[in-house]
């Protein structure tokens, strides 16, 4: 499953991620990371069985953990299968299938919303 980890400025200098991984003996597969002096945000994949442990570890060190379980939804009535969304998605959720239709792998979605602004037909949304 995909999770988002937010780290606020007061603990940003500390090795929260590494410590939590070592402590719980869990692997986080990090797909996106953004840090500056005020906050940090990490998008990572974690085995469902390990999730509870790693969340506990991370939260005990002051991080905020959100499960990304509402991935992008494509309204097939509105979608014209142009492919505009393909190049802007950082997680490579969209691609063309063999017939130039849209194939999607929503499990990889990190809920960033970038594709929503790109879609000329307002076919994409993140609402549950």
């Amino acid at each position: 499953m995909m999770i988002k980890i937010n780290i606020s400025s007061n603990v940003i200098g500390e090795p929260i991620l590494a410590e939590s991984m070592i402590k719980t003996r869990t692997a986080l597969n990090i797909s996106q990371a953004h840090f500056d002096s005020t906050y940090g945000e990490i998008i990572a994949e974690v085995e469902t069985d390990d999730f509870k442990a790693i969340r506990k570890a991370l939260e005990s060190k002051g991080a905020k953990v959100t499960v990304l379980d509402y991935p992008i939804v494509r309204d097939e009535e509105e979608c014209v299968e142009c492919g505009a969304c393909i190049s802007v998605c950082p997680a490579h959720v969209f691609s063309f299938d063999d017939d130039w239709g849209i194939a999607q792998n929503t499990e990889k979605c990190i809920q960033c919303g970038t594709c929503i602004k790109m879609c000329p037909h307002r076919a994409l949304s993140l609402e549950k």
Binding site: C82, A84, I86, V88, D99, W100, G101, P120
Partner: protein, 500 residues
């Protein structure tokens, strides 16, 4: 030499033994048979495209109200339609935005709603005349209530389109979609192998009066489109079709984020294969259609060309820009383009759609001129303050405070030892420094990432940069990084106020 006549082809269409193929299928046929045999074998090649065509709109005739009215201003669901013609005619353009909903709803949406049979609120005002006394009107109507709803698109079906990318360090939102920073992605339009004009680039069969597929029904080409520029391979078409017969499968409203509304139009042209030359040209491939990749980060009419690219490369999903693989996105739908070429093929094969020779050829010699501008664009150097005061980065913030007090500027560019721009401080930075401890020097409190401007930038560009970054002043630097002036949003507002 193979020579076929339009009559011969139409006879076959009528008899049901016409050989019609799509432009995609033609590539293989020509490869197999060669131009001569293919010209004998194939009678009609169908093309198709489905993409954003902003230059689209519909002429509407509402019928006369009682008492009658010469509509002077017309709004359809809050979107203004042009009515500077006779009493109850109006043209709704795809790109016109709603007065109340802005980017969310525009002329394109009115057009789609009409096609879908939805009710539209009509609001009109007038000054009243002896023959047309009525001054205001509000009613609700749908497409069936109208006398005519004729789509007239001034410029559709571009022969090819430029490809867009963006070299600056923020995402820009354009009519080519979101362009990610630092050449983060590439967007393109057009149907390549299926593109109508690329399949008959000499306009041998495509001309005034050519019957076409438009929005799911039969339409016509009424001439060359605006900005028709065949000499640079950017030919365009002006189209007409009856909106009442169109389908929302092939006409769709679109919203481009922070750009506006546009209309996705489905269009296809049948090309009668009269000779070998046409057999050859309709076998054009994605690889043969070559276009330019432009940097849309440069806000100018003359955007720099980064490279040439063909549609085969674009369709692989990534192309190389500055040595890096950059993902591509199509803005038009190839799947729909195929559907349209396929639909048109069915119509011809079923004996429902005939070809003809144009009643007039499209101009083959023309280029699109830029605008003649009779007033000079004001440049940053025309209004920047040249007597700008700068401060050394090693000065204390007390000195900076003193300098701001003594001068009228609220922004103080900071220079390093070599005299080049290193940062900027404002009165606000200084008051923050007073409140905090440990910051004694200008270099500790200054903002290091400074938005700058060049003396020769047009004012409109500087103004947009200030707006986008929400800052109120920019140092103007020369090519070596020395500060030669400062421009403030205040100066710009004063200038714009004068220009009104």
């Amino acid at each position: 030499m193979v020579e076929k006549s339009i009559e011969e082809i139409n006879r076959r269409i009528k008899e049901g033994n016409v050989n019609v193929v799509t432009a995609e299928e033609m590539v293989g046929i020509l490869g197999e048979l060669g131009a001569k045999e293919a010209a004998k074998e194939v009678d009609v090649v169908t093309t198709g495209t489905f993409g954003a065509m902003c230059s689209s709109g519909v002429w509407l005739n509402f019928g006369h109200p009682e008492p009658p009215m010469k509509m002077n201003k017309v709004f359809l669901n809050g979107v203004e339609a042009y009515s500077g013609v006779a009493a109850v005619d109006a043209f709704i353009g795809a790109g016109q935005l709603s007065e109340t909903e802005g980017f969310d709803y525009g002329g394109a949406h009115v057009i789609e709603d009409l096609i879908r049979g939805k009710s539209i609120d009509l609001h009109a005002t007038s000054y009243g005349t002896d023959c047309y006394p009525r001054k205001t009107l509000d009613t609700t109507l749908n497409i069936y209530d109208l006398n005519q709803a004729i789509m007239i698109n001034p410029r559709n079906g571009y022969q090819k389109y430029n490809v867009a990318t963006n070299g600056i360090n923020r995402t820009i939102y354009t009519y080519m979609g979101s362009l990610l920073p630092n050449y983060g992605n590439v967007t393109y339009s057009g149907a390549g192998v299926l593109s109508p004009l690329s399949n008959d680039p000499d306009y041998q069969t495509i001309g005034v009066g050519t019957p076409i597929f438009l929005g799911g029904t039969k339409g016509h080409i009424i001439g060359e489109g605006t900005q028709h520029s065949p000499e640079t391979n950017f030919g365009t078409l002006m189209l007409r079709g009856d909106l009442k017969d169109m389908s929302a499968d092939y006409i769709r409203a679109a919203n481009f984020h922070e750009y506006g509304t546009s209309l996705y139009v489905g269009m296809g042209i049948p090309i009668p294969i009269l000779n070998e030359q046409l057999a050859q040209s309709t076998a054009v491939t994605d690889k043969d259609v070559v276009t330019n990749v432009l940097d849309y980060g440069v806000p100018s009419r003359d955007r720099p060309v980064l490279r040439k690219v063909n549609y085969e490369e674009l369709r692989t999903g990534s192309i190389e820009i500055n040595g890096r693989d950059t993902p591509t996105s199509s803005m038009s739908s190839f799947k729909k383009s195929r559907e349209i070429a396929g639909e048109l093929k069915k119509w011809v094969a079923a004996g429902e759609f005939f070809v003809n020779s144009p009643s007039q050829r499209l101009p083959a010699k023309a280029t699109c001129k830029p605008m003649r501008q009779t007033t000079r664009n004001p440049l940053v150097q025309d209004i920047m303050a040249k007597d700008v005061v700068v401060i050394d980065e090693n000065a204390t913030f007390h000195e900076a405070a003193k300098m701001i007090m003594e001068n009228t500027f609220s922004h103080l560019p900071v220079v390093s030892e070599d005299g080049k721009l290193a940062g900027i401080v404002t009165a606000w930075d200084i008051s923050k420094a007073v409140a905090e401890t440990g910051c004694n020097y200008v270099k500790d409190i200054m903002t290091k990432k400074v938005l700058t401007s060049n003396a020769t930038d047009p004012i409109d560009i500087a103004a947009r940069n200030l707006d986008m970054k929400d800052v109120s002043a920019m140092p103007v630097i020369d090519n070596d990084g020395y500060v030669i002036g400062i421009i403030t949003s205040n100066d710009i507002s004063k200038l714009f106020a004068r220009r009104r």
